[in-house]
Amino acid sequence: MTAFLWRRRGLGVALLALAVLPLVPPFDAENFRRWLVISALLAGWAIAFDFTAGYINVVNFGFAAFAGAGGYASALVTIHYGLPIWVSMFAGVILAGILGFLTGVLTLRFRGIYAAVAAWFLGLALLGITRNVSPITRGPLGLIVPTFFSTDSNLPYYYVVLAMMLVTYLVLKAVTESRAGLAFRAIGQNMEAARASGVNPTRYRILNFTLSCMFAGWLGAFYAHYYAILTPDVMATSQTVQVLVAAYLGGRGSLWGPAAAAFPLVFSTEWLRSNLDRFPGLDLVVYGLALILVMVYYPGGFAELVHAIRDRRLRLPGLRMRTAAAPQPGEAGAVLSDVRE
């Protein structure tokens, strides 16, 4: 138990800092607290996204649609049945879970880009359906959704979403550290080899999709009850792109990297948006350029950087090299690919 906690000391420090942050100036201003809520929400989504993209190596390009479906389910249940939000959120979890399960089943036979595109098309179809069944969803007008609290303050929302992010992280981390996580990685790296060693790709891929979408839907329900208005735009591809940017900048296959990247990402883009409003679109240009630069020059992202510093593979001023540098993975591969070029 002590060892378990000690291994997570970094998480504890980070959480403590995040919990205190909205009370410390300048972050106690209401707009900073709002940015914190958005960051924590994006962090939670990025964790759930990375659980699929970073482990079984399938980019769920319809991610936002599943999250949005969870939001709609929760909102509709509270509106029509008057259930408390804490209960109705689980309607969102269930619907998103079912959709994730079906997507998992449908995309089972596809690999890589085909699975990503199939999930994308399913997401687009879901978005179109949500937009078109206006008797239920009020279409593009949007649903008016009851909120968690009757206060204008963002502080209680922040602690709720922070707790939800933490639960998402802990559950998904526990899964990835179990036998299932090993199976995920095996499938993600080489499906044939995994199958040959007795891993059943069917079961694990469906499990992965279902879990990831359940958490996406749960956080989607938070989104609905936080913003109080829910339009089909929440399911649009651009939302998936946001989550994807956070996940890839943070580094795939670590779960915490994407969460850590979400905060600076949201803060920098929101800051650009509010301070440079003479240049609409500039924030997203920066966003896109950051994604391109990271993908081209440092595809491991933030998590890889931290690992490199920890393993002393990277020379930084002030960090003394105590052990010999570990051999770079794929050095032989580098030579080969140079030959190919």
């Binding site: 036979r109 085909y114 595109v117 994308w120 687009l124 179109g128 924030d283 020059y297 595809p299 794929g330």
Partner: protein
Amino acid sequence: MSLAVQRLSREFRSPVTTGLIAGVLALAIFGVVRGGTFILVDSLVTGAIWALVAAGLALTFGVMGVPNFAQGEFFMVGTLSGYLVYTALSGVQGRPYVPFVTILMALVVGFVLGALVDLAVFSQMRRRIREGWVMNTFVVTVGISVVMINAHQLIWGTDYKGIVAYFDGPPIHVLGVSVALDRVFAISVAAVSIAGLWWLLSYSRIGRAIRAVSQDEPGALMVGINVGRMRTLTFAISSGLAALAGATLLFQFPSFPFVGVKPLYVAWTVVILAGLGNVGGAVVAGFIIALLEANTGFFIGSAWEDVVPFALIVLILAVRPTGLFGRAVRSVWEQ
């Protein structure tokens, strides 16, 4: 094309493909009988343009392994440069050569921009990335698309920048349907470009080199082909075609930052239906998707045009995971 025909005839031995083709023909006949011949004419016009956008997408995937999410943005660049050139030529508007100059300029802009993007991004990635090439480039093209959309917004704003028509003569009549001159222009441009692309790929030295790169990179290298330049050229051709399509359709798609979204979705459905990397198949599938859209729009309502094709494609994929004609590229790019 004879290769494509050969492959097609081989595909007909598969009952699934035969069934699907029969289904499409039945859909066409049903649409014409119940809706009218305009469904057929409509599908031919839009299908030709979709085929043009999708052929570029298939080409970049087949040769470079880049699933280009930014293809719609090159369409956007085409509409924008078409608009800028056409308004700059306002003094001589009405002369019959102006539309041709406009779309040629758009083709050049798309071509140059595509070459620059390849040199700045994909050539750099080639040197660094060893595994997960397809997914990594996919994510990078997402970034390129975000940058291009918002750069448009930053510089030219979000207004619709469109024109009424390139040609203002009376419409012509085909099968009892009146077709505006601009649509005749669009289908002619698409037909000529597809024929040109086919000639380029099948008979020219450059085309042979491009095909060699797509089939066997080390082999191409060994016989002295400049592989890097062929990749740049491929990406430039593909973005040039998308830009050409955008400029040609300017009368229907006024330029604004998100104008590329719809062509992108359609191009992807087309390419997935045909099988990734299959240029000939993409042309056939372009017409199938257009037919599907026209029928959905007429019988179910145009709001569902964005739902039914996607759902159907996923179902088709569930039966044939590599698309209708996608057997040839299966082993190379599956990772």
